[in-house]
């Protein structure tokens, strides 16, 4: 009796219990196995079978190495699933800048010998499967740090089609109600210019060191330093969403973090209100978001930085509680609303805002490079199923 005798449905049940890599290795067993694993139904069952909230994730961040070259590092990369990813991303950062991400796809830009370079080449890469698309080059007379990039994508498993859009915003001073962007979508595969119309009559102010664009509900959201959000629809730049800053936001202090947690947009600010009491860290979450204009900020956490303690290290407790410098806020946790990642000295800290504790999460070789250049910190969640980039050749030399 062989496994060939079992009907497809039962073979599928067996394969559901395998780790992701083994499933893909099994494509090489026979035509039948390959076809079965390549069906949308299999992906659907496999993804449902996994507890997606337990997928490991890592923070990818830029850091200058000993030769002052910006490279990308990954936190907690000793985890077996993340090891290969971390190594790959590190290798790629030798000649590519990490610009943005959407799900498990990363947007990179080729490093040029001189900035601004005449031609900019962007790549959409899946760092798990190493599949890669090179986008047609675009000429933009701006250095890399003056262009904000965002990536949004979605994969249709039934049509086996990947739709993606890349939006580039060249830096502009002041608040503008209308500004120029460059967009490339997978349906045209060509760059085109577009004018974004901000719904807010006051306009939008693009921050020089803005956080990565956050893809959310079909829009690419950027956050200004005044805590206002702008969501751009790559297919219709005249219809954007905007959100005012939360109540309680300190207007003369910048945004400390912007991202998504538990399916909601989140924003964080540490107040500069130095009193004898200490700086206050606040996190707001945008709830009741809908496509008809709904959405409201709710204060999720309000913690005094000097109330944070480390149960394991007195050194850490002292360092976190000292008034200056404040810890750097890196990122939110994708699923756990109580967790915030901070950086202090050469350590990434895991901060639990409910229990008001901090612990060392991992060490980093250099300070995350936020002061001299754009620093991108990307939350990467290991996918239940890697997003395929159809007809994409494997990148050579990896």
């Amino acid at each position: 009796m062989s496994l060939d005798n079992l009907p497809d449905g039962l073979l599928l049940e067996i394969l559901l219990h395998l780790p992701l890599q083994t499933v893909f290795q099994c494509k090489c067993v026979s035509n039948r196995w390959c076809s079965l694993i390549s069906t949308p139904y299999f992906t659907h069952r496999y993804v449902s079978h996994l507890h997606t909230n337990l997928q490991p994730f890592t923070l990818l961040f830029e850091c200058k190495d000993d030769q002052s070259i910006t490279r990308v590092l990954a936190t907690n990369s000793e985890e077996s699933k993340l090891k290969s990813l971390a190594a790959y991303v590190h290798r790629q950062s030798e000649h590519l800048w990490l610009e943005a991400s959407c799900n498990d796809l990363l947007l990179w830009r080729a490093k040029a010998d001189e900035e601004p370079s005449p031609m900019n080449v962007y790549y959409v890469i899946n760092p798990i499967t190493r599949q890669c698309i090179a986008l047609p080059p675009i000429t933009l007379p701006y250095p890399r740090s003056w262009i904000q990039a965002g990536l949004i994508c979605s994969y249709d498993y039934n049509k086996k089609q990947l739709s993606y859009s890349v939006v580039l915003i060249p830096y502009f001073h002041d608040k503008l109600r209308e500004f120029k962007v460059y967009i490339l979508s997978s349906n045209t595969r060509e760059w085109s210019e577009s004018m974004v119309l901000c719904p807010d009559p006051e306009g939008f102010e693009l921050t020089h060191f803005a956080f990565c664009a956050v893809p959310y509900k079909g829009l690419l959201f950027w956050c200004s330093n005044s805590g206002r959000l702008l969501g751009i629809d790559p297919y219709n730049t005249r219809c954007c969403r905007s959100f005012e800053q939360p109540i309680g936001w300190e207007l003369d202090k910048e945004t400390d973090c912007f991202g998504v947690c538990r399916g909601c947009l989140r924003i964080c600010q540490i107040s500069m209100f130095y009193t004898r009491f200490s700086s206050i860290l606040r996190i707001w979450e945008l709830k009741d978001y809908d496509n008809e204009g709904g959405g409201k900020w709710y204060l999720e956490h309000e913690v005094s930085v000097n109330q944070l303690v480390s149960k394991k290290s007195t050194w850490l407790t002292e360092h976190v509680q000292q008034k200056y410098p404040l810890p750097l806020v890196l990122a939110f946790h994708p699923n756990d609303g109580d967790i915030l990642y901070l950086a202090i000295e050469l350590k990434v800290l895991l901060c639990n805002l409910r229990s008001k504790t901090v612990e060392v999460f991992c060490d980093i070789p250099h300070d995350p490079d936020t002061w001299n250049d754009k620093c991108n910190i990307i939350n990467f969640v290991f996918p239940s199923w890697p997003t395929p980039i159809p007809f994409a050749p494997l990148q050579s030399g990896t």
């Binding site: 009796m1 060939d4 049940e13 780790p19 067993v29 026979s30 390959c34 290969s84 499967t129």
Partner: protein, 238 residues
């Protein structure tokens, strides 16, 4: 003495089993029949032989009694029982999978499928075919294409508990292997690099060949691109 409700099950080869209703209801299929009042006479199960049916009943008995509040069976004990229970030969295992599916006994289906999955987990595609008598219906070109497309899945060495022999190799020689070279350059090597997909004798040959290439490079002679060097670029093919 309270009378416990029983149902009668009849296997494909005519064996009759009298089973308590609560035990039989572990099977969603049988549960449905009972609830639809179709279970007064013996329930025929033409897809399950007597031998397999008796095993399924054993499983159901064990798992029903554990959900009984009077039973003190712990999760560990149940797991241990399951491990013992599932230690059967492959043919019986497949029959159990089919029976669990037909009779809709979710726990048994999960257990049996997980057991087969565990056998698959640590094996190469060649080993999987050998173990489960699967015909390789790829043409060599097709097989190479699928391999190439999914190269990333083979890249990470799996658990290193299968390493029998360790070979101490000079770094210059190890770097002849692209895979290892990358690992070294990324500082992702511990003291032993596990090469799960390469057996000892093949690894010996590969190392021999690497030695020759390094020596050839040092003596500035023409490197020989023999079949062996193909082996070096893709030790997984070995």
């Amino acid at each position: 003495m309270s009378s416990v409700k029983k149902v009668t099950l009849k296997s494909s080869d005519g064996e009759i089993f009298e089973v308590e209703e609560t035990v039989a209801m572990e099977s969603q299929t049988i549960k449905g029949l009972i609830e639809d009042d179709c279970a007064d006479n013996a329930i025929p199960l033409p897809n399950v032989t007597g031998h397999i049916l008796s095993l399924v009943i054993q499983y159901c008995k064990e798992h029903t009694s554990s959900s009984d509040s009077n039973s003190s069976k712990s999760n560990e004990k149940l797991k241990a029982w399951d491990t013992q229970f599932i230690n059967v030969d492959l043919n019986v295992l497949f029959d159990l999978i089919m029976a669990a599916n037909y009779l809709n006994v979710k726990g048994l289906l999960d257990l049996t499928c997980q057991t087969v999955a565990d056998m698959i987990k640590e094996k190469t595609p060649e080993q999987i075919r050998a173990m489960f008598n699967i015909v390789n219906d790829f043409t060599p070109e097709e097989e190479e294409e699928v391999r190439r497309e999914n190269a990333w899945a083979f890249e990470i060495s799996l658990k290193n508990n299968n390493v029998v022999d360790t070979f101490e190799v000079e770094e210059s020689m190890a770097k002849e292997l692209q895979t290892i070279k990358n690992m070294i350059e990324d500082n992702y090597t511990d003291s032993v690099i596990p090469l799960h997909n390469v057996t000892s004798d093949i690894l010996e040959l590969v190392i021999e060949d690497c030695k020759k290439h390094v020596e050839a490079a040092e003596s500035e002679s023409e490197p020989s691109y023999s079949l062996a060097s193909k082996l070096i670029d893709d030790p997984l093919k070995a």
